[in-house]
Amino acid sequence: MEKSITNNKKMIGVVLLIILALPIIVQDNNFRHIMILFVLYAALGEAWNIITGYAGQTSFGHAAFFGIGAYTSTVLLWKFDIIPWIGMLIGGIIAVVVAIIVSYPAFKLTGHYFAIATLAIGEIMLQLFVSWEYVEGATGIMLPIKENGYKYMQFHPMNKLSYYYIVFGLFVITVITAYIVGNSKMGFYLKAIKENPDAAQSIGINVTRYKLYAMMVSAFLTAIVGSFYAQYVTYIDPFMVFPLALSMQIVLITVIGGLGNIYGPILGAAILIPLSQYTRIIFGGTGKGLDLIIFGALVVIVTIFQPNGLVGLFENLFKKIKKKEAINDGKLHDVS
């Protein structure tokens, strides 16, 4: 059986290699910063894809898990001098626990109601952290400056490449996890649940349990990326890590790239992140909001002309090429 491009391990490997090599080849710190954001958002999109793309449960509150990851590693470093690697894992575990607590009742809701519930969870987290004095509330936390190196994930003066290696490693973990989930028994169950939850239940799939598993995996991956973000930015406040805008950006990236597909978040982030950054860099200083107008217009154009995501465009191209090859090899007759 011919594998589709989305399941081709070699293809995925080549794509990852290209992404890894770009900031090494282009020795410009601004470009490296944009690559860090691109990979970071692609990883967030991959994590979100597991619960929404595979399991069909639309979450508008993933910023909650992102923020939990960011705050956990930051507070542990700031108050207890615990290295961010451990903070990252603890943040992931806390996010999983929160995901279980909030998702179990939320999964009883279906369709739009589940999406609305997740939206509320994100906002509740934001308000909680704004009012929580132990984590400095709205004034945010400035990360303490620690020794240079991978131990504390701090590099002075700013060594973008080292940050890039870390976020790339996290990105690879999310891609591999998404691949494994997508091609495992659990992945097929999730796809069945997405297509028709009642039918899936009737053939013996424990729908709630598998949706919960997907949410746990998704929350964990989102939280570890959040931890990295805090180390990279070195300052966090609730409005940076829990905003609705972040949840929406994750959704936008994945939907524009292509839902339920490993390449979707990568393509979406590859288009949207450089676009938003470069338009801001070029036009932001004018003070006329040109960057936002251009960014918005391009998003509208992509959405109108490729509503199934950019992956759909590439898959169609790939199919056409395969068909042409088959016609040339005489396996198919051209009926056009």
Partner: protein, 438 residues
């Protein structure tokens, strides 16, 4: 088969690319030839200026941009009629009359973008100093980033006292911080009680839930606990509202019920306008409303509310009456007004000052080296004829020690200087007249 070939080709390209990268070194290769030192003539000195040019605070951010552009015009041109440092001759005298160029960045009121813009301006644009960012929450990561690159950062109007409590070596601030402002407010209230029989005691704080608002509220706690609680002032209400609030009726009804004598506001122009409209709607009748540096100081407040803006007060570096009394400042204000359509307000003048001071420090240092500029910033006293104090001197922590504001109040549709000193333009008016009579 074809796909396999493509994959092999791609992989080969990656390996070649990685090999090339491995062979490339970022370090300059030492040459065996003797290096002939050439005098480098600096033609333009670039300084980064980061403000909220889009988003909710864009109207204010754009005015601050105009203020910095006004400073740039004065420094680069010849303005002997404006008796400010750097105005008489074109450019930086000690750097062969090099021109100053401010490169603007937009942080969109987002701390993450403030950090990114700081890095971009330093690395890509090669700026040797920075000014900004208005929002304290954006100034925090931006100045922490400039510290890492050892680039001096002169903050104009950011007011959170936390900014100068971090022990940064490359950061100074022009504006008074919220701790200084709070003490100033209580002294003004004491003056009202002693000289105008105001009988004001109960305080409500109303503040936005970000670094600026929350920190201002903390300063009220601090001063009440340490000094003014014992002098009879008492806080009876604490109202925090979300930064994206589109309606403040609930908050205003709470305030009406508590009926405080005094309201301290830490709000930006949009929120301040919303609150003022709701105070009128629900006939909230405090005796005194005092604002931290923010919405009240923006002349848009008066334009938005017209007569309803009367009797609000707040600390301010300048008002039109002060500008009119200062010939040099009036002339600088003409340049600013041609760009912005309004007179200098407090924050705009503070950011104008930040641009003037960093340019003067570079000129005095005769160098664009960060350490040399900081040495000047930390050791020199700068003439600042555009401020009532006339001078700027940064302390060990980077705070301007002479950042004294005037208490201003809108009376008869105009900002008036009501306290302290001899330069007042009016007596303060205590108590809002009944809304039904206005």
């Amino acid at each position: 088969m074809k796909r396999k070939k493509w994959l092999s080709l791609l992989s080969l390209m990656m390996v070649i690319a990685l090999m090339i990268t491995g062979c490339t070194t970022a370090e300059p290769v030492a040459s065996e030839e003797p290096v002939v030192e050439e005098e480098i003539v600096v033609e333009t000195v670039k300084i980064g200026a980061i403000f909220p040019l889009t988003g909710g605070a864009a109207a204010t951010g754009v005015k601050l941009k105009y203020a910095v552009e006004t400073a740039q015009e004065i420094i680069n041109g010849e303005y002997p009629e404006i008796a400010f440092p750097m105005a008489e001759n074109a450019g930086l005298e000690n750097l062969d009359n090099a021109a100053i160029e401010f490169i603007f960045g937009d942080h969109q009121a987002n701390p993450e973008i403030a950090k990114s813009e700081t890095e971009r301006l330093i690395q890509n644009e090669g700026v040797v100093g920075l000014v900004g960012c208005y929002h304290s929450s954006s100034t925090k990561p931006a100045s922490a980033t400039s510290e890492r690159y050892m680039i001096p950062f002169v903050a104009g109007s950011s007011s959170s006292s936390a900014l100068t409590e971090r022990g940064l070596n490359y950061f100074v601030r022009i504006a008074p911080h919220d701790g200084m402002e709070t003490e100033f407010f209580f002294e003004y209230l004491k003056n009202l009680n002693e000289n105008y029989d105001a009988d004001v005691k109960t305080v409500a704080t109303v503040y936005i839930d970000n670094e600026y608002g929350v920190h201002a509220n903390m300063m009220v706690d601090k001063w009440l606990e340490e000094v003014y609680g014992e002098e009879g002032f008492e806080r009876i209400l604490d109202v925090k509202y979300p930064s994206d609030a589109s309606n403040v009726d609930t908050e205003v009804l709470k305030i009406k019920e508590a009926a405080p004598d005094i309201i301290f506001h830490a709000s930006y122009i949009n929120d301040m306008t919303m609150f003022a409209n709701a105070y009128q709607l629900y006939e909230v009748q405090p005796k005194v409303v005092i604002s931290y540096c923010g919405g009240f100081q923006d002349q848009q407040f008066l334009i938005n509310l017209e007569d309803a803006a009367n009797y609000y007060s707040g600390s301010n570096q300048t008002i039109p009456a002060i500008i009119a009394a200062n010939e040099a400042l009036s002339k600088a204000n003409e340049i600013y007004k041609a760009k912005s359509g309004v007179d200098f307000d407090g924050p705009a003048l503070e950011d104008f000052a930040s641009a003037m001071v960093i340019a003067e420090a570079i000129n005095m240092a005769g160098s664009t080296d960060g350490d040399a500029i900081m040495e000047v910033l930390k050791s020199e006293e700068f003439k600042a004829p555009y401020f009532a104090t006339g001078k700027i001197k940064f302390g060990e922590d980077g705070q301007n020690e002479f950042s004294a504001s005037a208490m201003t109040q809108i009376i008869g549709g105009e900002y008036q200087n009501v306290w302290p000193g001899e330069d007042t333009t009016s007596d303060p008016v205590v108590a809002f007249p009944d809304w039904s009579t206005r």
